[in-house]
Symmetry: C2
Subunit: 247 residues, 2 copies
DNA sequence: ACCTGAACACCGTTCAAGT
DNA sequence: ACCTGAACACCGTTCAAGT
């Protein structure tokens, strides 16, 4: 998963700089792609103007010619990832719900390749142009499906980032706790007495899962559960609106 | 909203240090409350070991006696806020749904006083003890209401941080865009052609709202809409489970 | 006119030196 | 044995000095 082109080096390790004028020129896209590669490999925390400069074999200050500042860099990373999300397949079963579902599931796959995206998006105040276009597509799917503008509006709020493929979880309820040893650790620390309901739940989960796969929750299942819960609820509201205006 | 006790100073401005042994002793709670006060007033970014030391009129290094490191400090801030959320009133109408709803709405009020909480929570890998206790209470309410353990589990994933009062929005769809001037700005920059559905939606919102209040969306309404959508859907699943096992 | 890199004003944390 | 503060290894960004 090497998204960026590494700077060319001589076999002896010396870096081409002033010598080689054919060396790939810097551009905003090349800078942003290098940052994405850095984040994919080492996390968003590793994305540093200085380190990015190293990665591109360039003076850190040179980056400021292609990027206003670090905020602008992160904006660029988010925008590029969202811009490159696959378009929803032309023919999908299940009406507007099915189309929206397919869109969210496709986005989710991309987000798993870029695990830093939720944190990056969360840290932005404003939506990037690509995010706006994405949400316009979502609105289009719903309006085409017969949702009122008012319902579309509420839905965008209700779905939030879920439609972009985020799990949006407070903490990894299962990953952090459902692993067998962790449950035991909980009990060992006497927390099980304090958390009877969670303990019972986690115990049952790890018991059920143990017979099938490893342990912990299936993120895909949970994502689909929440998504369908919301989409089903929204379709019910759409039908109710329909009856109210047509009946 | 002054949560912390400021260090006492002489009227001439000189700081009591070694002189005054009765000067309030540092403690983990005092450190954490000071950090919360700092975040409430100036945002999470202003919470710095150095600045916190200044605030408490203490060497920054002295903080490390009460707090393992900065991560531990933020953990402490999150834990204290969650621990002090009001308990759900004993008698609330509407069964488990009503009780859970009341809990989320009460939490939401607290979160609005501590606007840095979503960011702080998002940056944590693990839940704090108070968060675990909170989620145990949520699980208890649902189990008492007749939800199967399996449904409780899915619900915790689906509700995510919403039950803690977070809006969990990707970006402030409305705040950033629905304000009248912004819509015009959008059109001026030719984005309206690219975003026909969003533009139409935002135009209608600002038109509708203009006659009632200012502009933008009502966050409380949107929070309640999404919460009820989820709670209604979960109650439907509970009933379906009921029929499946009893019928 | 352009580019570069030294320097500034921060940060969390270590660790040695002083009591 | 304890505490303190100098120092380290970073950070984003400014700005002046050099070409």
């Amino acid at each position: 998963m090497e998204l960026m082109a590494r700077p060319k080096r001589h076999e002896d390790g010396a870096v081409d700089r002033a010598d080689d004028p054919s060396r790939e020129r810097l551009s905003r896209e090349r800078v942003v792609r290098a940052a994405i590669g850095l984040a994919d490999e080492h996390g968003l925390g590793a994305v540093t103007m200085r380190r990015l400069g190293d990665e591109l074999a360039v003076d850190p200050m040179a980056l400021y010619k292609h990027v206003r500042n670090k905020d602008d860099l992160v904006d660029g990373m988010v925008d590029l990832v969202v811009a490159e999300l696959p378009p929803v397949p032309a023919r999908v079963r299940g009406g507007w719900r099915g189309r929206l579902r397919a869109k969210a599931v496709a986005a989710r796959e991309a987000m798993q390749r870029h695990a830093w995206m939720p944190e990056a998006v969360e840290s932005r105040a404003d939506a990037t142009p690509a995010m706006l276009r994405y949400y316009d597509e979502v609105a289009a799917i719903m309006q085409d499906g017969g949702c009122s503008i008012d319902l579309v509006h509420h839905s965008l709020h209700a779905l939030g980032s879920r439609v972009l493929g985020f799990t949006q979880e407070l903490f990894d309820v299962a990953g952090a706790l459902a692993a067998g040893p962790q449950v035991l650790a909980l009990q060992a620390h006497g927390m099980a007495d304090e958390l009877p309901h969670l303990s019972e739940m986690l115990l049952q989960i790890s018991h059920d899962e143990a017979t099938i796969v490893g342990s912990g929750c299936d993120d895909d299942v949970e994502f689909a559960f929440a998504l369908d819960l919301l989409l089903d609820g929204l379709e019910r509201r759409r039908k109710a609106d329909d009856r109210a205006s047509n009946g």
